[in-house]
């Protein structure tokens, strides 16, 4: 069920649901935040900022595992992707490396182009 709440004149759509492993998912205006009820973190009083949530649920990023060149990109922004789906190939050390998604999701941003050189750790794709 989606609740609509208004804070200081701005309307927020909030959807709260239970996830596997005792986790709780809060969807706020389309953005998802996962809370772990077993967490031992101390919640301090005070105003919460969006960045507080972000730090607990970082955006999923696909990073280059090796230095190399992007040889092919198989997805585009806004594509829904499934766990295990091939997203791009990175040519490195004369090997072809298929980079696959570790989770279901949606492509938010593709930060590289075919033929582009990348370094280990560079963000290639961001997922929602």
């Amino acid at each position: 069920m989606t609740l609509k709440i208004t804070i200081k004149g701005k309307e927020y759509a909030v959807d709260i649901s239970e996830e596997h492993g005792g986790k709780t998912k809060v969807k706020l205006n389309g953005r998802e935040f996962i809370f772990d009820s077993n967490s031992k973190e101390t919640i301090t009083e005070g105003p919460l900022r969006i960045s507080d949530f972000d730090s607990k649920n970082p955006e999923k990023e696909i990073k280059a595992p090796l230095n190399g060149t992007i040889s092919e990109i198989f997805v585009k922004e806004k594509d829904e992707i499934k766990k295990g789906q091939k997203m791009l190939t990175l040519s490195a050390m004369k090997m072809e490396n298929e980079i696959v998604s570790e989770a279901n999701g949606k492509i938010k941003k593709i930060s590289v182009q075919k033929g582009q050189s990348v370094k280990e750790g560079d963000v290639l794709i961001s997922l929602l």
Binding site: P65, G84, M93, M95, E96, E98, V100
Partner: protein
């Protein structure tokens, strides 16, 4: 431990291998769409030896070793069995008399870590002739030796060497 799957003709042993368990070898008599790095075509007519080995996950920093060890296994098998002097053009080609006799393509499937790897080997064994654009750069064991060789024996010897070598790092 090694399981061998045989095919008369398939598109590509590397592509097909991605659906098989580690330590499976797929060998084809002919490939429709054999490929090398960056999708380049690998000439794969009947007579040649085309096979792929599926490997379990390994440390990402060991990946390049896979190709090098494979090149070594191929060159050693050629040297041990025939009066030829193979040269490993690091990391992924084997040459005889300056011409390519074997190409190796390692493909890694990577998520957060390496999930598995496929090593593809295209060895020109009994290839009788090459198209004009490859004639200057490619050769085969048959062309070099002026006689046919036993594909099955060569494949098993390379696989056996690979199994022994790779177990030290996987």
């Amino acid at each position: 431990m090694i399981s061998i799957k045989r095919f008369k003709k398939i598109s590509s042993t590397n592509e097909k291998a991605k659906g098989f368990k580690p330590w499976t070898v797929l060998v084809a008599e002919e490939q429709d769409s054999g490929y090398g790095r960056k999708g380049s075509q690998w000439f794969s007519p009947k007579g040649g030896l085309y096979f792929s080995l599926v490997l379990p996950k390994s440390d990402i920093h060991d990946l390049q070793t896979l190709t090098v060890l494979t090149g070594f296994a191929v060159a050693k098998t050629i040297k041990d069995n025939f009066k030829l002097e193979p040269l490993i053009k690091l990391p992924n080609d084997v040459l005889i008399n300056g011409k390519k006799v074997c190409g190796i393509l390692t493909e890694n499937i990577i998520g957060k870590e390496v999930k598995f790897s496929v090593i593809g080997i295209g060895l020109n064994t009994n290839t009788s002739s090459f198209p004009p654009d490859l004639r200057e750069s490619a050769t085969s064991l048959k062309l070099e030796l002026k006689k046919e060789v036993n594909n099955e024996k060569i494949m098993k010897e390379i696989v056996s060497q690979l199994e022994n070598q790779l177990k030290t790092i996987i």
